[in-house]
Structure formats: structure tokens, C-alpha cells
Amino acid sequence: MTVIEKNVCCTPSEMSSEAFTLGPLQLGPPCCDPEPHIQIKNLSLSYADKTALSGVSLDIYRGCITALIGPSGCGKTSFLSSLNRLTDMIAGCKIKGEILVDSVNVHAANTDVQALRRRIGMIFQKPNPFPLSIRRNLEMPLKEHGIRDRYVLSHRVEKALTDVGLWDEVKDRLDSPALALSGGQQQRLCIARALVLEPEILLMDEPCSALDPLSSAVVEDLIKSLRGRYTVVIVTHNLAQARRIANYAGFFWMQERTGTLIEFGRCQQIFEAPAHQLTAAYVSGARG
């Protein structure tokens, strides 16, 4: 498939894929010609005693970066976790509404959760490499998903590390502990660990907030380069960052003690011509 010329959200220069080995851009129809990848319909989410999120409906478009912004505690992380059913790990967490990934209902009883999570990678706020060697961090998930061939394994490990720009930094010490890496390297390793499974969707929960400014910039560039290849949903408190990297933005806010989606639209529109006055106030720094 060829790179689509009429893409205006992602300039072709940003999409140069020379550094990439995961293949040419395939997923991305232009962000301006959106095709829904994840459809969320009237989603409500509650914990044992409180409702964290209610009445959220939006489409997340294939190949685009969607940023979720808003103040802390308004349900953005809960929303993100419901997309790959990580909410299952929280006792007493209940979900109403529908989440469809390629028209398959995520929260249906018969969904194969492990296969689903293989398609939807997730990056956490705090880098969480496992207490294993760098190589084992990447190989172990592959092996658990049935890939045993040693040549394939080492090839995929190298690809993933190259894609996150870590290969040159660590190729001589693949067998040293992952926890010995710096914070920024650890986060890039975690992204590589998600990429190594060749997912379609990446969920990122404030991936730069625990990093120093330099590492943060490196990781941000990395995320930007994922555009077009993966469908990325990123929660961030850094409005400037959202503005720099996202094609679409959704603004969450607390209303009547529950988080809800106030406005969703093209990134440029949300930041420059917000329709809702809460959004306008928030992006201009007046509230939150």
C-alpha cells in the first residue's frame, strides 16, 4: 500500500519510515478521512462505591494519535484501562456501554482477553520493565504468545529495539538487567515491549510524565513517529505535548462528581476553536 498523499494531518516528512523496520505505513488512511478503529458507545464505568466515568461516546480513528486531556481524577486513566480490559484486574469495577474494536465487542463474555491485549499494547505512566534482562523482557511475551523460533525471536527483538531507537544504545548489553537502564531508556524499552507483539493499537497513560525533560522529548519524538502505523490513544497532562503530537483530542472534565467527555474533535479545532466554554477555559490555562 502506498503512502496516501492527501494526508494533511501528518505531513509526509514526519512519516518518513527509513528508521523503521516494522514495515511501511499500512494502517493509515489519512487522518482527515477517518475510519473508526475503536468505537465507544455510551460507556460508563464505576468502582465499588463511586462512578468514575459516565456517558462517554467517541470514535478513535485508525492510524491517528488521539490525545485525552483534562484535569487529574476525571476518569481518563479508567477510560484507557477499559479499552484493553485492564479494568478486569480491579475488584468491583463495573462497565456499562459498548466498546467495539473493529466491530468486536471488547467487554463481551466470550472475548479472548489475552488475544485482545496482544492487539492492544499499553504503556504506563511509570516505566515498568520486568526485573529480567533486556532481551528477556522482549522475548518472554513473544514466547508466551507461541513464538519459539530463535531466529524469529532475535529478529523481532532487534526490530522492536531499533524502532524505539534503543538498539544502538543496548545492543552490547542485551543480557544485562533492564532495571539498570535510565528512566527514559526504560520507558522506551516498555514501548518496544509493546511493539514487539506487533499490536494495532497503543494505549499510553502519561508516558512522559515520570521522565526528565530530555528523555521526555526523546519519547515524544518516538510517539510522533508511530503516527500512521498504529492507532495511538494517549493520556497527557501536557497540553503543549498533546498539541504537538495529536491528530485528535478529547477533553474530559468532572461533572456531577463523575468524569465525562466534554468535547472531542480534531486537535487543531480543540485547541484553536473549542466549541465548549469549559474546553476553551482549560486549553487557555484558565481552569484545572
Binding site: 480490559r85 478486569d88 484486574m89 479472548d112 489475552q114
Partner: protein
């Protein structure tokens, strides 16, 4: 919580193991009951308290003297060990010079790790002759109390230490701000604040004292009688089981299981109230 299909066999294995682990207690109770049933059925539980002596071969099953002895040695040890154990904790926390505090605490922890048979050996060869020099025969209630005291003192000290550590820092600062002396701070503020945990630890230590077998068996003389003085030799319920199990048969054997049940009841009541008070878990 999600249980994907691949995890189901694992969960089954884990659940079966947990049920087995939990069932051990039930199994113990069942088998104790099963073994004591013949004699319980024949003579009834009451005669174990009312019979005038322990002559199981003549069908006289009076456990009362040994029950009294058990209580006497247990309560005696708790009474001695409580002030000493609390003092040991307060010493490491507030009174010891800095260089001494840690070694002292390590020493108490070490004391907790010495097996009861070693205490028994030492009691038998050192403490008993020592007491006998003043008041023969030496092997006595007093020897039992002293040995048990050393054994349960670390339990009291270590649980009290945990309870004191949990007292919020601002209590101490508040007390210091009021210009209270050290003794007032400890007696008036700290100990009351840590009361529940300390009491729990004492009950735990009492349970340990009542359930202890070897050390008491080795130093207390093992004469079946209701103790009337500190220097009387005594026999506890636990020692009785250990001494007679080897040759007991029939009703005699069954009556030993009755005393086991009794002992377990006694200890469990104490242990349960200890854990209710939040004086730490029973183990660890």
C-alpha cells in the same frame, strides 16, 4: 476478576491446595475427637474434672491437678515475663545507649529462636540444681515458671515493640512539647496508645506458655498434684501427654486425647482473642 480460560487449570490446582491447607485444622480436630470418643462416650467429659486423681488404668480420670498446674505455670510465667518483656522493649527504644540498643534487640530476637528442648536442657542441668540448693527437690513449679519466662519474654518484647512502633510520631512530639518526663510519656501516652497490641502479644505469649511441652516437662518434676507452693514438683497437661503416650492403650490413650482437646481449646481461645485484639498475626 477476569479468569481467562488458560488460567482455569492453574486456579483449580491452587484452590485444591488451599483447601487442603485449610483442611488440616479440621482434620486435627476430627481425629482428636475420633480418638477421644470412646472414653468421652463412656465416662463423660465431667469426670475429667471431678475424679479425685489421675489413675487412668483404674478408670479414674481426674485431670484437675494437671489443669491447675498448667494454669499455675502459665500464669506465673506471664506475670513475670510481662514486666520484663515490656522493660526490654522500652530499654531498646528509649533507655539504652545508642551502641547497646541494636545488640540488645538482636539478643532478644536470638532468644526467641532458641528451641524449647535447649531451654529444657539448660533448665534441667543448671536451674534445677540451683533451686535445689535452696529448696529441694529443685524440679518444681518455680523452675517451670522461670524457664517459661525466658521463653515467652521475647514474644512479649517483640510484639510490644511492633505495637509501640505503630504509635503515631506526633503523640511523642505532643508529649515532649508539654514538657512531660520520659516516664510520664511512656506510662501516660505511649503504653496506653499501644495497649491493644501489647495485650494481644501477652495473650499470644500466654498461649505459647500453656502449649509448651518440652521445657516444662524437663524442669517441673512431673508429679501429678495440685501445686500448693512454688517449690512443689508439678505435671502439666502437655507433659502428661508426652510422658504417657508411649505406653498408653485403650481408655488411657483415649483420655490423653481428651486432654489434648482440652489443651487445644484453652490455647485457641487465647490465640483467637489475641488476633482479635490485633496483636499481630499468630505466626511470623
Amino acid at each position: 476478576m477476569s479468569r481467562s480460560r488458560t488460567d482455569q487449570p492453574l486456579i483449580s490446582v491452587l484452590a485444591i491446595s488451599a483447601v487442603i491447607a485449610a483442611a488440616i485444622l479440621l482434620l486435627i480436630l476430627l481425629f482428636l475427637l475420633r480418638e477421644s470418643w470412646p472414653v468421652l462416650n463412656k465416662v463423660g467429659i465431667l469426670r475429667f474434672f471431678t475424679d479425685d486423681g489421675w489413675y487412668p488404668l483404674e478408670a479414674r480420670f481426674g485431670l484437675a491437678p494437671m489443669l491447675w498446674a498448667t494454669l499455675a505455670v502459665g500464669i506465673g510465667a506471664v506475670l513475670v515475663a510481662t514486666p520484663l518483656g515490656l522493660a526490654a522493649t522500652l530499654f531498646t527504644r528509649f533507655y539504652a545507649p545508642r551502641w547497646l540498643a541494636l545488640p540488645f534487640q538482636r539478643m532478644v530476637a536470638l532468644l526467641a529462636g532458641i528451641p524449647s528442648v535447649v531451654f529444657g536442657l539448660w533448665g534441667l542441668t543448671v536451674l534445677v540444681p540451683f533451686i535445689a540448693a535452696f529448696e529441694p527437690p529443685g524440679a518444681s513449679l518455680l523452675a517451670g515458671i522461670l524457664i517459661l519466662t525466658i521463653m515467652i519474654l521475647p514474644t512479649i518484647a517483640l510484639t510490644a515493640d511492633a505495637a509501640l512502633a505503630a504509635v503515631p510520631e506526633h503523640y511523642l512530639r505532643g508529649s515532649a512539647a508539654l514538657g512531660f518526663s520520659r516516664a510520664t510519656t511512656i506510662l501516660g501516652v505511649l503504653l496506653p496508645a499501644a495497649k491493644a497490641g501489647i495485650t494481644g502479644g501477652i495473650l499470644l505469649a500466654a498461649a505459647r506458655a500453656l502449649g509448651e511441652t518440652m521445657a516444662v516437662l524437663m524442669v517441673a518434676g512431673n508429679v501429678v498434684q495440685t501445686p500448693t507452693s512454688l517449690f512443689d514438683p508439678i505435671r502439666t497437661l502437655t507433659a502428661n501427654i508426652a510422658l504417657e503416650m508411649a505406653y498408653a492403650t485403650g481408655d488411657h490413650r483415649a483420655s490423653l486425647f481428651v486432654s489434648g482437646l482440652m489443651l487445644m481449646g484453652l490455647v485457641l481461645v487465647l490465640a483467637m482473642s489475641a488476633s482479635r485484639l490485633g496483636g499481630g498475626r499468630l505466626h511470623g
